[in-house]
Symmetry: C2
Subunit: 558 residues, 2 copies
């Protein structure tokens, strides 16, 4: 044995040491895997070591908020310089950790509400960002080079042995726990309740080291709920174009919808407008999607065969239970979501991703990154990228690939399918900010934050269509950078980008079907009224669900 | 309620009916979830219905062979026209099902040893192929439009309740069971043994409907074992070029190796040749890889920090247990593999994939598909594709992306990283078949089998380097179809493709570093001897493992 030879058994020894420290610290406050609520901080101080890589379950929806708070309360003299790996920075506590020095380095996917504060902390040198990931990419690194030493997760309930029931918001928990438990790490779960018998087991007890009852149920955000009352007639028009000009055109059977009113409008037009076009059974049969309330009318009308979900949505519990024919549910009748598998489904098993953005440039690159905020993109890059490993064909995928490759030579001409990736935006967003820009803010952000690349959400090379109230630009059919630029200008309306179009070239693109206006699709904008929506209010959604959907209070006004 | 409105609760009702039929059929041959070995055929006849979608666990390594056999024995009058979905067609029984009409349709990933018989059955109209997938893509579809109604899986052991212990070959089981159990399907597991207490729980009992002890342990193939005695000096030379010309050049830290002697040679040169170049700690630290015996010397020399595995490898059990610092293991010390997560890791968390192929064309498209065989490509398309959803940077990924995009304009010029995808082939393979061809057999195969696209394993657009004994062609640096073609011809040796090179253009590409010969890399082919291999025989591997590696009998000659 020489100096270069590794010392084996370190991982097991370190794990044993941490467990022994926990046993000493918890003396009298522990029974089997169960730890008293009041001992959370002691437990964390006992098991954590400076510099540890810690996965804190900050998900897109549910939050291990009690453990997050406990972590902010450890003694920074003892626990500091942690490397946090987590899907979403959603709570103030997630950033407090960095201000006190308890944590130092961060790898994540999304920071929505904390984006501005995160940017300030990074600028002030208080956080070292490893990288921003798409969800599945971050999970993948948990098994490669970002394996957590300690995972702090949340579940709905535990039994006496420590088996966990996640309830409908299973989300990221299985991926986090598997990576940690099978690499000698420690798994600590906060639970909303302790039950004699769990409705079902989502995580086996022997993958879990400690269970702590939280003083109140974990936070869950109803992120995917959109009130139909706020859908505008412009959004109805755009939804009609999406259905007739893209879904019907390609025969899209399997898809994912991004979050927002634009796609909620599409969901609400399926049983009305799309039904009138005879599209039932021909489009939108299989979904990788959270249980969007806006999809209730389509489900009730028999449009939907299956929905696999990343997470759940508050208020949809009873409805999901009654529609287990469509949703993935356990023997107990409640949803089993799974972000890792649903992202894999979004990447490899869907023919279309449609979502919104804040800015699109002349190359078709789009980004929600804006100055002064570091937010990340969650699942969009995974679903809004051509899945080049895909090998199974479908009519939609073949048609898109055929359009992209027709007439090309060499490697680019080898026949191949392609995913439909649609960016759906009004030409102006709130406060008359143009959605089309010569230069993305992402470039400035890259300079400011010293990133290796500009934070682009979806690359122009991967976008197939841009849809605005002015029409659809089919980028698959463009054969040069100039054509692509004019196709984008041609649907950019009265923005500066749109006004600078070459009118003759745009008309030529329209003749070739690269740009299609509502009239080209046989759509009369005067027909685009809110009357087409299958539900025009939250109350309508509740009614469509036969009273099974119970919207969170903030969405009720009756 | 009108005719178009769906009847709800069908899924639950159908499940209850199937379970009731099973209860009647198994009267007296069942205790809780446990079913007597002799009742397997009765159980299958009771729960299956004509046309059912059935996932039979045919994995890359382990096989639910007892259940496969039982399925061939059901009465085809009662059970017929099944739609089989499975990763790998490995056993004769997998095809027997189609000959008897028990099964009719097939969606799969790989059919290695059964490829020729499969092609015949397809030609004769006995099988309807849905599609050929990469593994993760197939798993993804289990959650979207290929959800199994019944899953037939295998595990090492079950306890009285029906919890499952998969042992080190966890492989596909968690993905299959999750998709089936949470969609109202039925999960039937054959087990090698029934134990009072499981070493650990891999699948909770309430995801499982029936457990059947198999009369003998399930088949597991040691697919990834390569005897170092069979590594040639040409392979040593190519491995030297890979290490110096690619791994060191890009600083590749996280990677996947394909199966074969070419990559085994690289693994065996790490502690010798790569060590002499001072590369320890600079390359090859994190792996998405099965427990290749050829990696033992590198692990022992401290080269490897982590390995996450798709499956396990026979004979490596004790070694893995002793090296739990590196492998993903459970509290019981044995491996927890997971093909779904490891494929995600290979796609999103690795900077490099290197593998072999049978044919490469002038566009750089490569395929292992040959006439008269329908085999599929397993994981290669997933790992050998640029992961366009990836957003975290690494030096290797940035350098590859920079090379590919330097000087380009428009969407193609937007800065972006790129995965290194290396095809490593000798210019002639067995029986003097040229690896380089003007036209892939895949095109003829497409015509013969009526496929929508030619079965290309890795597209030229995704390949970054082609490595032969003649040198390395860096396709990232090519700027036209013609350059790409000459770069490929330039490393194609004495094949017809190589001989038809434009010598001046090839020399020009060499001057620009697009082609690099051994001499350009400072490698003297005379140094490429088998003495460089850290192990030159299976015995050496056993010795390097300190007796912990126990090769299967077929690999022992002492």
């Amino acid at each position: 044995m020489n100096a270069a030879t590794p010392a084996w058994g370190l991982r097991a020894a370190q794990r044993a040491e941490r467990l022994a420290r926990a046993a000493r610290a918890l003396d009298g406050q522990r029974q089997g895997r169960h730890v008293a609520t009041g001992a959370a901080v002691q437990l964390l101080e006992a098991v954590l070591e400076p510099g540890d890589r810690v996965c804190l379950e900050g998900n897109n929806q549910k939050q291990a908020d009690f453990l997050a708070r406990a972590l902010t309360q450890v003694n920074p003299q003892r626990v500091h310089g942690l490397h946090m790996v987590q899907s979403v920075l959603a709570l103030p506590e997630h950033l407090d950790l960095f201000e006190t020095g308890i944590a130092r380095r961060l790898d994540f996917s999304f920071s929505g509400p904390q984006g501005a504060r995160l940017a300030k902390l990074v600028a002030g040198g208080g956080i070292e960002i490893g990288a921003i990931h798409t969800y599945l990419e971050l999970f993948a690194r948990y098994f490669v080079d970002l394996t957590p030493k300690v995972a702090l997760v949340t579940a709905q309930a535990a039994d006496a042995q420590g088996n966990l029931y996640t309830g409908p918001n299973t989300e990221d928990t299985p991926a986090i726990v598997e990576a940690t438990a099978f690499s000698g790490g420690l798994v600590i779960a906060q639970v909303n309740e302790v039950l004699d018998t769990l409705p079902r087991i989502d995580i086996p007890a022997d993958w879990v080291d400690f269970v702590i009852p939280a003083p109140r149920p974990n936070l869950v955000e109803p992120l995917f709920t959109r009130d139909p009352a706020q859908i505008s007639e412009i959004q109805v028009l755009m939804a009609m174009m999406a259905i007739k000009g893209i879904y019907a055109e390609y025969g899209v059977q399997r898809l994912n919808h991004g979050i927002g009113f634009d796609t909620a409008a599409i969901e609400l037009l399926l049983p009305t407008y799309a039904e009138s076009l005879g599209l039932k059974g021909r489009i939108c049969r299989h979904w990788a999607l959270n249980p969007h309330p806006a999809l209730i009318p389509a489900i009730e009308a028999g449009w939907v065969e299956s929905i696999h979900s990343f997470g759940s949505e508050l208020g949809m519990e009873d409805y999901i239970r009654a529609r287990a024919d469509v949703f993935f549910t356990g023997a107990d009748g409640s949803l089993r979501s799974n972000r890792a598998f649903c992202q894999a489904a979004g990447h490899y098993a869907c023919d279309l991703f449609i979502g919104s953005t804040l800015q699109i440039d002349l190359q078709g690159n789009s980004s929600t990154a804006t100055l002064g905020r570091i937010t990340g993109f969650g699942g969009a890059p995974n679903m809004g990228a051509d899945a080049r490993g895909r090998r199974h064909a479908s009519p939609a995928w073949l048609k898109a690939g055929g359009e992209a490759r027709a007439g090309r030579l060499g490697a680019a001409g080898t026949p191949r399918g392609q995913k439909l990736v649609v960016q759906m935006v009004e030409t102006f967003r709130e406060h008359m900010q143009p959605a089309f820009v010569e230069r993305l803010d992402a470039w400035t952000l890259q300079e400011q934050a010293g990133m290796a690349l500009p934070p682009i959400m979806i690359y122009g090379e991967d976008v197939s269509h841009i849809l605005t109230e002015e029409g659809i630009a089919n980028l698959l059919l463009c054969r040069s950078d100039e054509e692509r630029e004019q196709a984008i200008r041609g649907v950019a309306g009265y923005t500066a980008v749109g006004l600078a179009r070459d009118a003759r070239m745009v008309e030529n693109l329209r003749d070739r079907g690269v740009i299609r206006r509502p009239a080209d699709l046989g759509i009369d904008p005067r027909d685009a009224t809110r009357n087409l929506l299958a539900a025009r209010s939250m109350r309508d959604l509740v009614r469509a669900s036969d009273g099974r959907y119970a919207p969170p209070r903030r969405f009720r006004n009756w």
